[in-house]
Subunit: 182 residues, 2 copies
């Protein structure tokens, strides 16, 4: 699939993300996606076999930091970028996928979620180890701190759909993670 | 309502808690509760006007530490008890109310959740201030640490329904909170 195909796939995922965030997983149909993307049914199915297929791919996407560490970039600079992204996500309550994740998980996709969870943990603990090695981060237990970073974030994402958040709540998160590491 | 009435109310809440944890909020009916408690419809409605009434009361229940602080008990001892309770909760994935909370919140109960959230924060920050005053806890920002304690817990509760947890995950939580405070 060429560049054009990649772009179409990305457009489908972007629209699907919004729909999943809005309605959860179960209520989103391929027909909804045809409407949002302007693709025909046949066109859409050329790229994805169903909403589960798209959702799994969205969940698996992540900001990769591997290359930046390979190139010897500063651990603090990478951390700053990651926290900036997280902070924006926390404040965008309408883009929280928590409900969709719940619904999708209730259909039994334990292995996928275990994999995603492990990868997210590895990503954070990789950065923490890297920062400890470069001398930029304090010596902490990478596994312990990674779990805090991930589950604290998940709790915020879930509650951001339930109650209104002040900017302060996102700031506290960023500040806590920063102070723990740097 | 006398002692017997209080006991019946408690029994209703206990059974309702299990049902909400199992099925979420929306699918639980007063009929389910009659079956579980053995009460007649009339009997049940004498105590609660509906499932929303029971759920709101369950959410509002909490382990009170006010009296223990008034009596000058050790902050560390109170913290140990609270963390022991939390640790047990994390491992009991089948008793997580996260899904029910989500469903109930989607029916629009923002104010109730704001109140519950604020009270939980006040409770933790109260203990933290108390421990700082008695010299048992490190000097931290009580608001900042309370948020970490609460949302990290909520994230764990949500994910405990999605993936299997190892004992280690609950231990990391307890250890992190302890190290932050003591």
């Amino acid at each position: 699939m060429g560049d054009k195909g990649d772009k179409t796939r990305e457009r489908i995922r972007t629209e699907a993300y919004r729909l999943f965030a809005e309605k959860g997983f179960k209520e989103v149909t391929m027909t909804d996606l045809c409407q949002r993307t302007g693709l025909s049914r046949g066109g859409l199915y050329r790229y994805y076999s169903g909403t589960a297929d798209i959702f799994a791919e969205i969940l698996s996407e992540e900001y990769s930091i591997h290359g930046r560490m390979e190139e010897g970039e500063s651990a603090r600079a990478i951390l700053e970028d990651m926290l900036r992204a997280v902070r924006e996500e926390i404040m965008e309550k309408e883009l929280s996928l928590s409900l969709a994740i719940y619904e999708y998980a209730s259909l039994g996709n334990e292995e996928l979620f275990m994999r995603i969870n492990q990868r997210a943990k590895d990503r954070w603990s990789g950065l923490i180890k890297y920062g400890i090695n470069t001398g930029e981060f304090k010596k902490t237990d990478p596994d312990q701190v990674s779990e805090l970073i991930l589950y604290y974030y998940q709790g915020l994402r879930m509650w951001s759909r339930i109650i209104p958040f002040q900017e302060k709540t996102a700031e506290n998160y960023v500040r806590t993670v920063w102070e723990l590491l740097v």
